[in-house]
Symmetry: C2
Subunit: 274 residues, 2 copies
């Protein structure tokens, strides 16, 4: 069968309700690059799905834990007792899918990333780093790594596809991925989202009205936060819009979200005061 044409946006039926557009120009709102988002996601968990090729050429999905090297390369310890372990010995082509520890009740609204490439048996200093990364990641690695049927692999990443949720996605090259840095604020993001929604609903609404382009907003709920800005679900009489409000400067330290959101609130108040 020929490859289907690649559409560039959803093909929507008649009568489909589009997202209400902004009524005023929103402030510039940078996002993490796909490479940064991917590096951040990989840094948050040690569980992934591996796709490898079975003996008959069919794709094989399996559960793995991975260690993470400093350049974002995943390291795996797998046994040839398992089908995926035999697959990697036979054919090095593999990909790894990592999903965000779930922030949203809808998994399709949460982030995930696929790293595609080839596995290699690391040597020299890289072998030591990969081994140490697996020991740090997996409770059972200390014993498991000594078994004669178990091999240590690195997944040498060739391409990266990141999906942030509905309508937010992008690709990254291997070089972009390796040189990007994980977001240092990621570990405090879930707490910050909860805190903003519980204690600062007024500030979020003001951000949506004054900076986000929705002066008719009646409510704004924070859906995620990162070192570059805040994602909001904005409720208006015209429907619900997902928007982004960026900081003046990206946060650079683990505890940087508070100062960044305080600055954003100050800016929204100034705009409201005219």
């Amino acid at each position: 069968m020929n490859a289907p044409p690649a559409p560039t946006d959803h093909v929507v039926p008649d009568g489909f309700d589009p997202v209400p557009p902004p009524l005023t120009p929103p402030v510039p709102s940078p996002r993490p690059t796909p490479a940064e988002a991917a590096r951040t996601l990989l840094a948050q968990t040690r569980t992934a799905a591996l796709a490898s090729l079975s003996e008959d050429g069919t794709p094989w999905a399996s559960l793995v834990m991975f260690g993470l090297l400093d350049d974002g390369t995943p390291a795996l310890l797998v046994s040839t007792l398992a089908e995926h372990g035999r697959n990697l010995v036979r054919d090095p082509r593999a990909s790894l899918m990592v999903a965000a520890p779930q922030a949203s009740p809808d998994p399709l609204a949460s982030g995930r990333v696929t790293l595609s490439g080839r596995v290699e048996r690391p040597t020299g200093a890289r072998e030591g780093e990969a081994h140490a990364a697996c020991l740090a990641a997996m409770a059972s690695a200390k014993v498991f790594a000594e078994f004669g049927d178990v091999s240590l692999w690195t997944l040498e990443v060739e391409r990266v596809r990141w999906v942030g949720g509905y309508g937010t996605m992008g690709s990254a090259s291997a070089d972009d991925y390796r040189t990007a840095q994980p977001d240092p604020t990621a570990s405090s993001a879930a707490h910050a989202v909860q805190h903003l929604n519980e204690d600062h609903a007024d500030a979020l609404l003001l951000m949506a009205q004054q900076l986000g382009g929705y002066p008719d907003a009646s409510r704004a709920q924070c859906t995620s936060i990162d070192r570059h800005g805040i994602d909001l679900a904005v409720f208006t009489p015209r429907g619900v819009a997902p928007i982004r409000v960026g900081y003046a400067e990206p946060a650079t330290a683990a505890d940087g979200l508070r100062a960044a959101t305080v600055e954003l609130t100050r800016r929204a108040r100034e705009a409201a005061a005219g």
Copy 2:
């Protein structure tokens, strides 16, 4: 490269501590078949990893949500905007990995299953069933299913590989999988494990000593429970052993775990009384 030889057990180094063997004959302890375990696992979640084949023949791992037909067949709604959607149109070979909602802090000690087969576009009554299953599974399916770039697929299962945790695994044929039934007690299992460990540590220890073959046990912790029996981690001066203690009869109703564990406790007490 030739296929590596398939080992049948871990190749352990010298000095490796084996699991301490039972000192007395344990009672017969049936387990769920791999097919039943797989059906039970699929019934517990709607999120999975899909492995498909990209245009260059490499395996591609991605996040999907799935609906579930009455015979255990997964149904998918995927867009050709996504690489996995284009992959399925080009090549129907695919597999789906589903991991248990995590009961153990160690993901490798928790259950997972891989279903391998081919996707098909369902027709007739099966199309209606697949569509309804996706609507029930995904918040966004109602809108998403109407998009012109989105297709409905069923994964026609050809083989099944189930891993229950360390050292517990098995395969099932497509027929075994389709005719097996999910465990009706699964939804109360997590609560039962917690209750047994918090309130019935004495009963668990007696089960390990009297029925499980470990009279030298000093403590027993329930690690999982199903309609056929209980898994315990048994602590002895010789080390920790994972054991299984089966009920006299499998539980057949959703609320059947309580009566089954009461019967097991009674049997352990009778054995202790001699």
